[in-house]
């Protein structure tokens, strides 16, 4: 932490990036700008193109079309392709990619091979990094003598050792168990921000993305669907795919009753006769297309059946999670909401009232973005 940051965070700009594998299109016209020093998470399911995107940035993959700037430098463009080692970046790999024949120390020191530092300075830097990631005692071990979490710490230290303006993360936590994942995520967040580098991080885990990102880019089928702050994406998912992928408690077909304000609708729940709720509709379905209601778990509250507001529901399951209870609730004839939090426990098969916060309910065309 005492180490001066002698590198400048780099901006990244991607224009009309396209990548084909045979007749498969992996990336389809991606436009993306990343502020220097910011932390971008690319979120998407398997096959969405996020790994390809990251590999294109790294220079391991050669895009079919498009331009990539890293800082001022064009690294990909018409007749331009800068080799990975000339791009001045670092990367943390999903499978760690530690060289099994090098000790932890040497793995971490690898990116320093071109540095002008003296050996003593390098040793100090490596020692400092190992301390920062908490594995000083393992310096002389070899990778296969380490646990997965320890290995990924080494990989993180190696990436930081490069002292570059851009660090790429390829699902670095996906091979770890839940506890370690949480811990290492925090370390990645703090150490990367401390280093001042720009970060591009890919994951398929929405909570990881929201926890880490300054901005989240949601990818599907090779397209960048939405790029925004985590809050904006949560509150204003651009379409059904984004809503689903960023976590919903339930999704039901609905019919519109009436408009009740700008981007506000009142909808009828066909499975719960007589019940209506209010919802947002910033991507309002056309008159002929189907409409569905997407509900975020955070926007649902439960209250006693005696309460006179809300929709009638029944508790299907309840799970204690430490801070309180997560419930599974059925509404009307079979529609189910999951992960509904309440500090108070509602017993199984008991009746409840379910209240919907209009700002967490979206009416959208369910086929959009899929």
């Amino acid at each position: 932490m005492s180490e001066p940051e002698n590198h400048r965070a780099l901006s990244v700009q991607v224009e009309q990036l396209r990548k084909e594998f045979g007749d498969k299109v992996a990336l389809d016209g991606i436009d993306l700008a990343i502020e220097p020093g910011s932390f971008l998470v690319l979120l998407g399911p398997s096959g969405s193109g996020k790994t390809t995107m990251l590999r294109c940035l790294a220079g391991i993959e050669r895009p079919s079309e498009g331009t990539i700037f890293i800082g001022e430098q064009v690294v990909v463009g018409p007749k331009v392709f800068v080799q990975p080692e000339k791009r001045g970046l670092a990367m943390v790999f999903q499978d760690y990619a530690l060289w099994p024949h090098l000790s932890v120390k040497k793995n971490v020191a690898f990116p320093l091979h071109n540095s002008t530092r003296t050996k003593a300075e390098r040793d100090r830097l490596v020692g400092d990094l190992l301390e920062r990631v908490g594995i000083t005692s393992l310096a002389d071990r070899f990778p296969n003598q380490l646990s997965g979490g320890e290995q990924q710490r080494v990989a993180l230290a190696r990436a930081l050792a490069a002292e570059v303006g851009l660090i790429l993360f390829d699902e670095p936590l996906s091979n770890l168990d839940a506890d370690r994942r949480e811990q290492l995520r925090i370390e990645i967040a703090t150490l990367t921000r401390e280093s001042g580098s720009t970060a591009v991080y890919i994951t398929h885990d929405q909570s990881e993305a929201f926890a880490l990102a300054d901005k989240v880019g949601v990818l599907n089928q090779g397209r960048l669907i939405q790029l925004d702050t985590p809050e904006a994406i949560y509150r204003h998912p651009k379409n059904a795919f984004v809503a689903r992928f960023t976590g919903i408690a339930g999704e039901f077909p609905v019919a519109t009753l009436r408009e009740c304000g700008p981007q506000h609708l009142e909808v009828v729940l066909p499975f719960a006769p007589g019940e209506t709720i209010e919802a947002l509709a910033f991507d309002r379905p056309g008159p002929d297309s189907a409409s569905s209601l997407f509900v975020r778990a955070a926007g649902v509250t439960l209250s006693a059946p005696s309460s006179n507001s809300g929709v009638r529901g029944e508790i299907r399951d309840v799970a204690f999670n430490g801070r309180g209870y997560e419930h599974v609730v059925s509404v009307g004839s079979g529609a189910v909401l999951t992960k509904i939090f309440s500090a108070h426990k509602f017993e199984r098969e008991s009746n409840v009232r379910v209240c919907f916060d209009p700002s967490s309910c979206f009416v959208m065309d369910p086929s959009k973005g899929v």
């Binding site: 594998f21 045979g22 498969k24 992996a26 398997s46 096959g47 969405s48 193109g49 996020k50 790994t51 390809t52 790294a58 220079g59 391991i60 993959e61 080799q83 990975p84 080692e85 791009r87 001045g88 970046l89 670092a90 990367m91 790999f93 999903q94 499978d95 760690y96 990619a97 530690l98 060289w99 099994p100 024949h101 090098l102 000790s103 040497k106 690898f110 990116p111 091979h113 071109n114 070899f142 296969n144 997965g148 190696r158 990436a159 490069a162 790429l168 390829d170 699902e171 996906s174 091979n175 890919i202 398929h204």
Partner: protein, 603 residues
């Protein structure tokens, strides 16, 4: 999935982000027209395809190289399947099938004992397996027959082996020697497969109540790719073996395909066309094993190796069980390696080996003094052995270099037709007997078009070197493909991303990971080159006779004492080179290089 790399599943198949796209990406990149790819195919054409095809063409078109009047005929196909040759083909097919099954069963047992139990002397057995791999079959046969023959080495110490001798000179001896020869190939492939097999599979089976037998039955299919790969390579190696066919097979009147091929061209004028038909049969015989493998592998993924595979747990024998198990393994190596070596070494010290002598056995150093100072024909082993070592050095280095490149391409092009074709090409090439390559080299490199426009090297040492490279390359490539595919691509990518250039990235990541297999591959080619006879005999240039030809001429001319002594000296010299090479490796490589790496050598 290809047999070559089945033993070492690619990590791309482990669930990971968008890995579904990865293989097709690789495929796509390789399919593109690249100068490197063209260069490789030109090299393969000059080395293997053109000479072998020149020879094979004669099977239907003898006129092509002035070997007959017809441009096209099928009469030789009929001829090849008749009488002696037909019997040879039939014998070779069943012997190779039996040998490949035997070799794989024994290799699996040994690999399991050495890698998965606490059997004693594990390091030593791994080294023994290497020595077995390096030992040419004709040397093995020589040792056995020196030992067992009437008035041979065994009789010299008072053991009557007459019964064994007659048993040995028959299908039984043939199967024993060929199995011993094929065993190391199977062993190394299965070992690699076994190492990728984490203990969790065994544990899972046992936890769910499987008996030990059921556990084995459940777990073995997981290494099915390795087993099938081992069967295919054992089969191809056995089909193409000439050393046994020429010695044991001939003496026991048991014709085999390679000897029938030799026989077809032994007369003057030689019947190259029938020989070509036999060669085609040998090459095509590898198709069924590969097809079987493709069929079995088609819909299943056997990616068992992952970065987080835990080191396997060894089964602990009881102390008595451990002694017994160790004794079984020791006995095995004694039979396949110790006996022939003892026979050859012992035989080389016995005066007039194989001769009745009323005054009993006399030990002598005479043959050894003749090795470098021959009193009879004026042929010393010194110059030939020096030449063979030079050839070995150049051929092993060149082959290693090409094999790494080829193996990388083979691994990168996995899946799809191109790989299956490459695979059949390589395994088919393994099945090409040396004499076919040798004669094919004369046909092709003596063509005026080639000697005037491409390269004029007929009757020179470079041609012999090329042919030896060509004969070693297919096996060596398959040998390296496993370890190459075990290297996760991300290791190289990580080096690139962290600022290492292409070369540096290869040097700092791939080279250390492959150093051990490169060393052993090099030694394998080195020793095989020194003991190679068929190609050497037909292609050695005027007055530059390699050691194997010199030894053979002594053995064929009632100078078998001297010939055996020369064989022993050559073996000792090769062992010395192996020792020196390993010593250098130990001294110059960093500790990290040696502690990882490749299953075959680590016990």
């Amino acid at each position: 999935m290809a047999i070559t790399i089945l033993n070492a599943p690619d990590l791309d198949e482990t669930p990971r982000g968008e890995s579904a796209l990865s293989p097709s990406y690789r495929h796509d990149r390789r399919r593109r027209f690249s100068p490197g790819g063209v260069a490789i195919w030109i090299a393969l054409t000059l080395l293997i395809i053109a000479p072998v095809m020149s020879f094979l063409a004669l099977s239907v078109s003898p006129r092509m190289f002035q070997q007959g009047s017809e441009w096209f005929t099928t009469k030789f196909i009929g001829q090849a399947f008749q009488g002696y040759t037909g019997r040879g083909i039939f014998d070779s097919l069943w012997v190779s099938t039996l040998v490949s099954l035997l070799a794989v069963s024994i290799a699996t047992t040994l690999a399991w004992m050495i890698h998965r139990t606490n059997v004693g002397g594990r390091r030593m057995w791994a080294v023994m397996m290497w020595l077995l791999l390096l030992m040419p079959t004709w040397m093995m046969t020589l040792g056995w027959s020196d030992l067992l023959q009437p008035f041979g080495a065994a009789q010299a110490v008072g053991i009557n082996t007459r019964y064994l001798y007659h048993e040995f000179f028959g299908p039984m001896g043939i199967v024993i020697v060929l199995t011993a020869a094929a065993l190391p190939f199977a062993y190394f492939i299965i070992s690699a497969g076994l190492q990728g097999l984490g203990p969790e599979y065994e544990d899972a089976a046992r936890i769910h109540g499987a008996s030990r037998f059921l556990t084995i039955r459940t777990v073995l299919p997981i290494i099915a790719p390795a087993l099938l790969s081992a069967i295919a390579i054992s089969f191809a190696e056995t089909m193409s073996d000439f050393g046994v066919a020429y010695t044991l097979g001939y003496h026991s009147h048991f014709p085999m395909a390679t000897y029938a091929l030799f026989n077809a061209i032994a007369n003057y004028p030689a019947n190259f066309s029938v020989a070509a038909v036999i060669a085609v049969v040998l090459i095509l015989s590898v198709v069924p094993p590969i097809a079987l493998q493709s069929k079995v592998m088609r819909s299943r993924s056997y990616a068992v190796l992952s970065g987080r595979t835990k080191p396997p747990r060894r089964r602990e024998f009881t102390p008595r069980g451990r002694v017994a198990a160790t004794a079984v393994v020791a006995l095995f190596f004694f039979v396949v390696l110790g006996v022939p070596v003892l026979g050859a070494v012992g035989g080389s010290f016995i005066s007039n080996l194989g001769a009745y002598s009323a005054s009993g056995v006399h030990l002598t150093m005479r043959y050894y003094t003749q090795v470098f100072n021959p009193s009879i024909t004026g042929k010393s082993l010194f110059a030939p052995l020096l030449l063979s070592n030079q050839l070995g050095l150049i051929v092993a280095t060149g082959t290693g270099f090409l094999a790494v490149i080829l193996a990388r391409r083979l691994v990168a092009s996995r899946g799809g037709w191109s790989q299956r074709v490459t695979d059949i090409f390589l395994l088919g090439s393994v099945a090409v007997p040396g004499v076919v390559l040798g004669v094919g080299y004369i046909f092709f490199y003596n063509l005026p078009f080639v000697s005037n426009n491409v390269v004029n090297i007929y009757k020179t040492l470079p041609l012999l070197m090329l042919a030896l490279v060509a004969s070693a390359l297919p096996g060596q490539t398959r040998f390296m493909a496993g370890p190459v595919s075990q290297i996760q691509p991300s290791l190289g990518e990580a080096a690139r991303v962290h600022g290492a250039g292409r070369l540096r990235s290869w040097r700092t990541t791939n080279l250390p990971l492959m150093s051990r297999v490169l060393l052993w591959g090099w030694l394998l080619t080195f020793t095989k080159t020194i003991s190679e006879l068929a190609i050497a005999q037909i292609l050695y240039p005027p007055s530059q006779e390699p050691a194997s030809v010199t030894i053979q001429s002594y053995l064929a001319n009632f100078e078998s004492g001297t010939g055996t002594a020369m064989t022993v000296m050559t073996l000792v010299e090769m062992l010395a080179v192996i020792g020196v090479a390993m010593l250098i490796y130990r001294l110059v490589t960093p500790r990290g290089w040696r502690r990882i790496g490749w299953s075959g050598v680590r016990s």
